[in-house]
Symmetry: D2
Subunit: 124 residues, 4 copies
């Protein structure tokens, strides 16, 4: 991964921890992350979780891409909140990896993201 | 909607058309929307579709919030591409509205977003 | 496909039409398909749609298996109703095929099923 | 719940345990549950998980209905296997309840089901 993750930088998402099958990232919600109702935009919450997913699933030599994601929005959040996304591997085979990512604020669940990644065949 | 959609502005998403049960928005992919592979970040694609969804589902006096979204990523896109998201109502009742949002580039499908919104009871 | 689809036969699902990228199947809801509320069981509705999906995606020489499905339940149905499931291809590449399946009763949408299939490499 | 769950009985699904926020059900896969490939039909796996979901979410006086489900199929299973589905509450508010249901065979994950239920207003 010699390239920058520019979109992650645009949002100000911080990578806190990455290890095999796991990662943890965070975002301090600013006004620029909010929607017309003043709540955190669904796209910012999705992006936070997607960054956790990408870090965990691409750990080491694996290269994988998201093919399908389901996300449930459970609680609103707003400017000033610190959101934490934590990715945990549910299952991994030769071809697919499935991760659950929880997005929470002070330990309370804000959203739940379930992502399926397709593992790219290794380049020779 | 007297507040700004700040996150939409941060990304540079343009609202092209909104009417009952329908909307169309677009994004010109810049370097800031890309991930470490140089492709459009999944979070940027989701956000584009989510903006189309929000515009269509909140048209007129209705206030609704996304409770669940499923998204399939079908084709990569990258810097310089113009992505179009088009939201179409699938079903609407008293309590829920279901929308399909297609994200495409030059008529080719890049992603498919299916969003379920819960309609908030009207304020008195 | 020299084997029987035993589960489809147990339910009494009829295959009405199959062609490239498309299929149509039906079920007459009997008491045995209902849940404790007297409505058609979600599992019966899913199965009907899954049969349409399997027929369409395995048309010709392709062998594919469902890896992820999202289903929205929109309207109840009950004993005596005739449910129709119609599968239409949304997108197909070398590795994946995405289908939308509508489940309807007298033209009204009962449920919407979105299925992602992984295409098995051809046996030699 | 004075009515029978006829579809559950048709399949031979057994309810093993139900308590607040949790349930466990099982199915011994017979030939009648298989598809044309000889594997357990996706519809039978979904139904097993949906029964666990329904038992847990309707525990006590609550009446709720599934509005959206996402399911990932991870491993095949076949005739003779005993499948166990275990439902656990992820989140519950006034209006919605979200459950994860794991489907496993001898402790190995066969499928993962994530279900969103809408809680019906109490009758007076």
């Amino acid at each position: 991964m010699n390239r920058q993750d520019c979109f992650r930088e645009l949002l100000g998402i911080k990578v806190l921890e990455v290890k095999e099958g796991y990662s943890r990232v965070s975002l301090k919600v600013a006004r620029e992350h909010t929607n017309f109702l003043g709540a955190t935009h669904g796209g910012a919450i999705f992006t936070l979780a997607d960054c956790a997913f990408a870090e965990a699933v691409n750990f080491g030599d694996t290269r994988a891409m998201a093919v399908q994601v389901s996300i449930n929005f459970l609680r609103p959040s707003s400017e000033g909140d610190v959101l934490m996304a934590e990715a945990s591997k549910v299952s991994e085979g030769k071809t697919f990896a499935l991760y659950n990512i929880t997005i929470s604020r002070e330990g309370k669940l804000v959203a739940l993201f379930s992502g399926l990644a397709y593992k790219l065949p290794a380049e020779k």
